[in-house]
């Protein structure tokens, strides 16, 4: 088995499409990291001066001056009443005139936000998609070229062949994703540190926990893509089926009148795993159509464990079907 695992690892390493996908799995997060760093960069003095000049120009506009005069004449309408003339003037200026901060809307880097709904989630999702493609194309090539039959002439124990390939895909996709995600978070931490940003306690611990969860999801994506391609024996067929299920599945259920719960949808479960649980408000339920406070019965939760079970069940079912099919069907 060890020899087979080594062979599959070599086969994976020698496959050009796999190398390109792994390259993309490094380049895309690197670009996202660079974009995040750029979009959260501290405001420079030049930008601040520019904003102040813009504010001054705006304040000198006739319509702005007219508004200011109206405010000073009837300050109570603008919520600027009280105090002496200087205080009214200041209150009106604050209420009506533009502020420099309005033109400096760029938010500083916030690692908690990045972890819960920011670029780290996007990177994990992109990596998951790439690893799914990797698992699919790795074995799709074996079927497409017909080399699977050649391999079976040397190792006819099909279960061993399936397991060796599957374990290789799982290890490489999960391991590689872990490295990339860890590097991404280390990059974010380095940027935050270089900007002297305060990090709440445990920020990086939680970030690296997300790295592990993201890596596990990527491993499952790779293994799932592999298992389905071993079942359908074609990369195109596998991607087509996945696309159809993702796109048409919910629509079809809707047309058929089958209620679609949030927990059914893969992306919700992926988010639950990545951010350690998510909540939804179910507006369709009676009595849940708005209001100042959403009642508890209107809220659905998917825990990280629930999401993990969801993917475990799907992957195990796909793997079992794939293994059984590979063991029984004729190989072209």
């Amino acid at each position: 088995m060890i020899a087979l695992l080594r062979v599959e690892l070599t086969r994976l390493r020698w496959r050009r499409a796999v190398v390109l996908l792994l390259l993309a799995a490094v380049v895309i997060p690197a670009l996202v990291l660079a974009a995040t760093a750029w979009n959260t960069r501290p405001v420079s003095e030049a930008e601040r001066r520019n904003a102040e000049l813009t504010v001054e120009r705006e304040a000198e506009q006739p319509y702005m001056q007219r508004q200011l005069k109206r405010c000073e004449a009837k300050p109570e309408r603008w919520g600027a009443a009280g105090g002496g003339a200087d205080e009214v003037e200041a209150a009106c200026a604050e209420a009506i005139l533009p502020q420099a901060e309005w033109y400096l809307t760029r938010s500083p880097l916030d690692l908690v936000q990045e972890r819960e709904e920011g670029s780290a989630i996007a990177v994990a999702v992109v990596l998951g998609a790439l690893m799914l493609l990797l698992g699919t194309t790795f074995v799709g090539h074996d079927w497409n070229s017909g080399s699977m039959s050649n391999q079976l002439l040397f190792e006819p124990r099909r279960a061993r062949v399936w397991l060796a390939k599957g374990l290789t895909v799982l290890a490489v996709t999960a391991g590689f994703a872990a490295l990339v995600l860890a590097a991404y978070w280390t990059g974010l931490w380095a940027i935050a540190s270089s900007r002297d940003l305060d990090l709440p306690d445990g920020t990086m611990t939680e970030a690296y926990q997300q790295v592990l969860r993201g890596a596990a999801l990527c491993g499952v994506a790779g293994l799932g893509g592999y298992a389905l391609t071993m079942l359908f024996r074609s990369t195109v067929a596998t991607l087509g089926v996945m696309f159809a299920v993702a796109l048409a599945g919910a629509t079809l259920l809707g047309v058929l009148g089958v209620p679609t719960h949030h927990w059914v949808l893969p992306h919700n479960n992926a988010m639950a795993v990545l951010v350690d649980g998510i909540e939804f408000t179910v507006w369709e339920r009676p009595g849940c159509d708005g209001g100042p406070r959403v009642p508890d019965r209107c809220v659905e939760r998917i825990t990280a464990f629930g999401g993990a079970v969801y993917f475990a069940v799907i992957t195990l079912a796909a793997s079992a079907a794939s293994l059984a099919s590979f063991g029984r069907r004729d190989v072209p």
């Binding site: 020899a3 020698w14 496959r15 070229s145 080399s147 040397f154 029984r328």
Partner: protein, 323 residues
Amino acid sequence: MSELVIEAEGLRKEFRTRRGELRVAVQGLDLAVPAGGVHGFLGPNGSGKTTTIRMLLGLARATAGTMRLFGQPVPRRLPAVVGRVGAVVEMPKFSPNLTGRQNLLLLSRSIGAPDTRVDAAVESVGLTDRDRDRYKSYSLGMKQRLAIAATLLKDPELLILDEPTNGLDPAGIREIRDMIRGLGAAGVTVLLSSHILAEVQQVCSSATIIGNGRLLASGRVEDLVGGDAVHRISVPDAAAARSTLESAGFVVAPDSSGQPEGTLLVEAERPAEVTRALAGAGIWLSELTSMRPDLETVFLQLTAADTLGGHLTAHTGPDGGRS
């Protein structure tokens, strides 16, 4: 009787087409290949040769029947004997973007063979200069050579070759033929599936002919083609010549293939026997043409009869001779 390397009894393979129709590719085939030598496996396109080979190698599942390789039931015990079997099934199938050498390395490492085995295999098929080129850049002949090199990675005792000379140039065909002959002489059992009947006749010591998934004939090649040749003779007096030859014990028939009158067909081992008998009766030949049947003739007769719905099933016993 020598040990059998391949045995199949009542082998049957059914499959369903995309339209759901049931097709029978192999129907109750019996196959016995003795150890040593080169055994031809013949049949028209679609007769079930490749399906039979694929079932033997565990690539396809038999619907019914039993198979043995080296006495071991397959596919159940295939892992125990697969290391002794090298095979090329249909067209060579390798990863096109890998080099020939990389393809062989993956296969050899999967059986724990040293990488030096690849060098030897590549050299033995004459691919040393091109083994580091991508497989997709190979000609069909080079692909065939690489497939044969792959079979040699195991140092096999049984070699199953399905149309191994497809796409080879005449020099390549001769090279592969010599290699097969050499392997057979060295004690390797070779099952050679081929459409080139002259090639089979030259290389094989025994052969099996199948049609429509059934056994039509099997035995030593010389027994399959028959012992006696047929000679066409032209004589001035056909009636007298026929009477003379028949009284001498020859089988004689008029030639109805559009030849001029006075032409007869005579079965005899050697043409001299015919001339001696006629000369003894004072009948002088004006022409004699020997027509020894070859494997192609036998093959065409058997498969034509089978295609026409005949049930000619010929087997040879241990002493040879079709029945």
